[in-house]
């Protein structure tokens, strides 16, 4: 095959305006040059402005003590002692905390509503439809303000709502009992881990056995194991896991787990809003699976649940993943509206930082970097997942 050895003739660049490649090259140089010039100009002006206003540049401020009071922290933090860097890290963690929980809950709620919209029951379908239409057409920020306003109309801690034992709902947030850590709890936790492992092995054994004999094993022993083993260990040790119950001290509650009104309002707002979009995605995903698939599976004798699980959902998933990705990205970006109701996410803390240090450029660059990283990570993960489940076509 001598032909394959010979490389195609390389086109030589002609120095003539009629040469398309040269034209392209010139255009690119011109456009890039203009952009570079603009950036250079802006940078020079900015540097000049910063110098005349005596604003520092660089990220040295990250090590300085941050006098920012932060209400919700996942890691230790003391205002005016801990650094700006740590404060910003808390902001990032808070953003992740709301985003991850928000994505999970929005998916659940959205899926339920999406399926509800397809229900044969007219009233249910209509109500789900009204939910989708109504919430999509009202700005999220307005919804957040509403939810936050609602939180604030709750009674003060002294007259807190008390729906269940140990649960207190007041304008300071929702207090629920938390598991208190006691010495014996390490063993209970270990037992839980072992039980999980056991349940996993049982499930695998059941699947193998179904492959081999056609009959699977019931899964309730696994559930029993997961719940029972830790309980038995706890009782054996006499260390029934203690509950840290919230109690009223003075004007506020102490102890237990606190879900702040800001977090609650933001979470409810984000979930309720995103669910209205996710519902539509789920609905169109299910509708995208043709009725022929239902019929074929039913004709083979599969029951409705099995058809949904084995045939319809796996196919709907493929249609659903790309738009779902952009909804997750939207939810993460929308979590930045936290700043409007005082939940201290990265935007809120970076905003305070830039107001205190005056270093606007660095502050905004940090916000953007954080979101770009999160966006990119989600995109990469979802792309990977999408490729993994993609249909094989010819």
């Amino acid at each position: 095959m001598s032909a394959s050895l010979a490389a195609p003739p390389r086109r030589r660049l002609r120095l003539s305006w009629s040469d398309a490649r040269l034209r392209g090259l010139v255009w690119q140089v011109l456009i890039l040059g203009a952009v570079a010039l603009l950036i250079w100009y802006l940078a020079r002006t900015t540097a000049h402005n910063l110098a005349t206003r005596h604003i520092a540049t660089g990220f040295a401020f990250l090590d300085h003590a941050a006098p920012i009071p932060i209400g919700e922290t996942l890691i230790d933090y003391t205002p005016s002692v801990s650094s700006y860097g740590r404060a910003l890290l808390i902001g990032v963690l808070n953003t992740l905390k709301i985003s991850i929980v928000g994505c999970l809950l929005a998916t659940v709620l959205g899926t339920l509503i999406g399926i509800g919209r397809l229900a044969p029951n007219w009233l249910l379908a209509r109500l789900c439809g009204a939910y989708v239409e109504g919430l999509r057409d009202i700005p999220l920020l307005l919804q957040l303000l509403f939810w936050y306003g609602l939180m604030q109309t709750l009674p003060a801690p002294r007259r807190a709502l008390h729906p269940l034992a140990g649960v207190f709902l007041s304008n300071r947030g929702l207090r629920v009992p938390a598991l208190a850590w006691r010495p014996g709890d390490g063993w209970v936790l270990a037992a839980f881990g072992i039980a999980l492992l056991g349940a996993f092995l049982w499930a695998r054994h059941a699947a193998r056995r179904r492959d081999a004999t056609g009959r699977g094993l019931p899964l309730w022993p696994a559930a029993l194991l997961v719940l029972g083993l830790p309980a038995m260990v706890a009782i054996a040790l006499g260390a029934v896991p203690g509950l840290d119950r919230p109690a009223l001290h003075g004007f506020n509650f102490q102890g237990g787990l606190l879900i702040s009104p800001e977090y609650a309002a933001l979470l409810i707002g984000l979930v309720v809003y995103a669910a209205s979009y996710i519902a539509e995605i789920v609905r169109s995903g299910i509708l995208s699976v043709s009725t022929g698939q239902w019929e074929a599976a039913q004709a083979l004798g599969l029951r409705r649940g099995a058809v949904l699980r084995l045939v319809v959902l796996p196919q709907a998933l493929r249609v659903v993943v790309p738009p779902m990705t952009s909804q997750y990205l939207n939810l993460v970006k929308n979590s930045s509206l936290a700043v409007a109701i005082g939940y201290q996410d990265i935007v809120s803390i970076a905003n305070t930082t830039l107001n205190q240090t005056g270093q606007a450029i660095e502050g905004i660059a940090l916000i953007m970097a954080v979101y770009l990283t999160i966006s990119l990570s989600i995109s990469l993960f979802m792309n990977w997942y999408n490729v993994r489940i993609a249909l094989v076509e010819r």
Binding site: D211, G214, A299, L300
Partner: protein, 247 residues
């Protein structure tokens, strides 16, 4: 013994206000091969889909293999296990391989061990002459191949009755033959078959009986040679002339 495989008595069905099946009575004996033909919209697909309750009939009685079709779920399960169906548009599951398409129902419905189901599937894939495609996905196969897989998939449930709903209508001309050959092979094994098709050659070759439907009712039925040679009604004569001109 003398009980027919499929018995339809005075079956009626409406879509909204439209009367699509008018008093259909039909009985198919075990081992019999019936071809149903008729102009489009004559209710022949609806009729065949009533047999495994993809459509519900509203009046009359349908008894399949001794079990009457009612809203009882268990009766429906039994019937769907015994009745295989092949669709016009194949309806293979695009997210499963050919082999998985074939083993899904045997494993999940018949509770067959996986290995056994796979051996069975391979046997049927060999019978429809595409065992080498087992690991591929439906999207990678031609239409004719897909339809043959669909036949194998239905056979894997080892049904007593096979229903074909225009199995060659969605195929390119050069692929029709391979599917018809598969169906002829199946007929030779003595399978009870009800087949909606316009392939008159196929009807001539394998059918014991041809049923001609028009406007929701059975107009004529009889052995193919007789019915094609001496159509008793104008409607069948018109239909045959259109079909033959088309081919």
């Amino acid at each position: 013994m003398s009980e027919p495989a499929i018995l339809m008595e005075h079956v009626q069905k409406w879509f909204g206000q439209m009367h699509v099946l008018r008093d259909i009575s039909l009985s198919v004996e075990t081992g019999e091969r019936v071809v149903v033909c008729g102009p489009s919209g004559s209710g022949k697909s609806t009729m065949i889909r009533c047999i495994n309750r993809l459509e519900e009939h509203q009046k009359g009685r349908i008894v399949v293999d001794g079990t009457e079709l009612t809203s009882d779920v268990r009766a429906l399960d039994t019937i769907r296990r015994e009745v295989g169906m092949v669709f016009q548009s194949f309806n293979l599951f695009p997210h499963l391989t050919i082999l998985q398409n074939c083993t899904l129902a045997p494993i999940r419905v018949r509770r067959m061990p996986k290995r056994e189901a796979e051996e069975l599937a391979m046997e049927y894939l060999r019978r429809v002459k595409i065992p080498e495609q087992a690991a591929k996905y439906p999207g990678q196969l031609s239409g004719g191949q897909q339809q043959r897989v669909a036949i194998a998939r239905a056979l894997c449930m080892q049904p007593k009755i096979m229903l074909f709903d225009e199995p060659t209508s969605a195929l390119d001309p050069e692929m029709i033959k391979e599917v018809l050959d598969t169906m002829i092979g199946l007929a030779e094994t003595g399978m009870t078959m009800v087949c909606v098709t316009h392939e008159m050659g196929f009807a001539r070759q394998v059918a014991n009986r041809v049923v001609f439907m028009d406007r929701g009712e059975v107009v004529e039925s009889g052995p193919p040679a007789e019915i094609f040679a001496n159509p008793a009604t104008d409607r069948l004569r018109l239909f045959l002339s259109q079909i033959l001109r088309g081919h």
